[in-house]
């Protein structure tokens, strides 16, 4: 049964530049249900990333509220916010943002270590996650020995490490070739179907857009449902 997992109420982020207020996000009301793959489109600077950061607890809104599973993020202190990001949210970035000094499997272990999972258990879990993204054979390679597509798959494994319910992806295919993009979206669909993950993806990529259940566009900080 689908229920609302992300709800924003009158969400606004306004940056002050000198004496001028620049609204990055202009009083957005949004509801996203579990098991959805949501796509957010829009020209650069329209507020897509701001929305993602507010949902992910990386930034604080100027006005309005974000409720995740009915919990108001504004009530969380810094520590609880870090815990929220660790356990409830998985992040995927355009440039993968793997730690260059660590191998693929170690990168996947980072969120597990942060969650204080025991050494043995996190190794097992990391192998299992790499298997999910079909990269177990590359476990001991450093990021610079992996292709872009492979790095992004490691990033997916890392995002899934603590079994979050929401995955936030900011232009995840922006740096991938079309074949890797297809593989990436196939994995997203599988995870969505089999593991009931909610995906919120910021993208320009039509390949990605056509795979999503719902599509929003943001223009000048205002959101509009397209599909």
């Amino acid at each position: 049964m689908a229920k609302v997992i992300v709800r924003t109420v009158g969400l606004a982020k306004i940056y002050r530049r000198g004496k001028v207020d620049i609204p990055a996000l202009n009083y957005v009301d949004l509801q996203i249900s579990t098991e959805e793959i949501v796509c957010i489109m829009g020209p650069s600077g329209s507020g897509k990333t701001t929305l993602l950061n507010l949902i992910g607890g990386l930034d604080k809104p100027t006005h309005g509220k974000v409720f995740i599973d009915g919990v108001d993020l504004a009530t969380l202190n810094d520590k609880k916010m870090a815990d929220y990001r660790l356990k409830k949210i998985g992040f995927i970035f355009q440039f993968y943002n793997l730690i260059p000094t660590l191998t693929a499997i170690e990168n996947v272990e980072v969120p597990l270590a942060l969650a204080k999972v025991s050494k043995k258990e996190r190794r097992n879990r990391a192998i299992e996650l790499l298997r999910t993204v079909k990269l177990e054979s590359r476990a001991d390679h450093k990021p610079d020995e992996l292709s872009g597509g492979e790095q992004q798959r490691v990033a997916i494994a890392r995002a899934l490490a603590n079994n979050p319910s929401i995955i936030l992806a900011d232009e995840p295919t922006g740096d991938l070739d079309s074949r890797s993009t297809v593989t990436f979206m196939k994995m997203v669909k599988e995870l969505n179907k089999q593991k009931n993950k909610t995906f919120i993806i910021v993208t320009h990529d039509p390949h990605v857009v056509e795979q999503c259940n719902r599509v929003y566009t943001i223009t000048d900080g205002k959101i509009k449902s397209v599909r």
Binding site: L58, G90, N97, P100
Partner: protein
Amino acid sequence: MSAWDMAFRSLRRRRLRTSLTASGIIVGVALMFVLLSLTSGMDVQTRQMVRSLGGADITVSNATIPSFEGFGGGGGGPDFFGAAQTLDESYTEIISLIPGVYAVAPQLSSMASINGTRVTIYGIDPSTYFNVTTGLNIVSGTSISEDDEYSIILGKAIADSLNGTVGENVVINTTITQKTFTIVGIFETGTAFQEYAGYILLEDAQKITDQQGLVSQILVKCSDPNDVSDVSEAISSTISGIRATVPTSRVSQASSMLNTMSMFFAVIGIVALFAGSFGVVNTMLMSVSERTREIGTLKAIGAKNFEILKIFMTEALLIGFIGGGVGVLVGAALSYVFPMLTSGIFRVASSTPFGGGGPFGGGRGSDFGRLSTVNISPAIEPYNIVLCFSLGVLVGVLAGIYPAWRAARLKPMEALKRG
């Protein structure tokens, strides 16, 4: 991945920079360590010298300053029996009459050789010598008595090198003559250069050096230790042309000079460490700014501020460990190399307080002159190892605090954007 792993990997990835940064601490720690080892070494030797003074409160010698090179340094020149450095033996009696004087012992020190080895020969009067000094530490045989003509108490070092034992004969060569002496005892001081010496009767010493009626020093013991300087002044004013010195004050002068030297080196070491710490701050700040995106990522995936702080503090701690550890090793090596390279400097340094002014007379002067050829031996104390190592670690950690705090405080969103 633990903070240790992350910090270790990051340092290993930038090996050159890590070693350059650590070298800032290494230099400081090594300098401090060399200084401390040499100071402890010199301190040990100073203490041994104090002990070897044997308890005389005042030494009276000729006021004419002897030329030091003729004694200790140059290749055994034959001119070491200049009349200028001796006193008339009759002064002994005059001094004994001065109020506050408890005992007086004449002594004639001169250089001689046994089997080609240069030794200091002390002519003493057993009836008085042991009243004034604490005596000799005889490890074999007996002491010398008034009627032991042509007998000698030999230092352990020279006895060992000659394979000489009690009862055997040794031939002593002076510039004037050579004479056979019988070994009656062997003494030990614990310091090799002091054991290249022998004690014989004063009359014998005067005979073999042709200095009848002359002595090089008169050792004085006071009735009351608090009167030493008064008695010393009284002696100086009673007899002209002599110098009365209080050896313990000389030693304290020497150790205060040592302290000044230590302070000087300590300041250099601390300045070096201070400069090194800026290197660490700089590298760490660079590391933080290079890894801004990494920090942002870690925070985005759920790392708390404290965990970021831990990663960077660990990195600083590791640099401190490397700096402290290698610094101590380099310092230990340098403590042995340094005195060899600078034995010239130490010759001057050590002869100034002890030998040059001739406070202990010719014989003593040459003794301390030999100190430099023996070398200042550094003393590597465990205490100093711990101290210097901890100092390196401390500098690393202190220098790491600010950069680590900056890293921990980064806002995840901005860090991601900037990276």
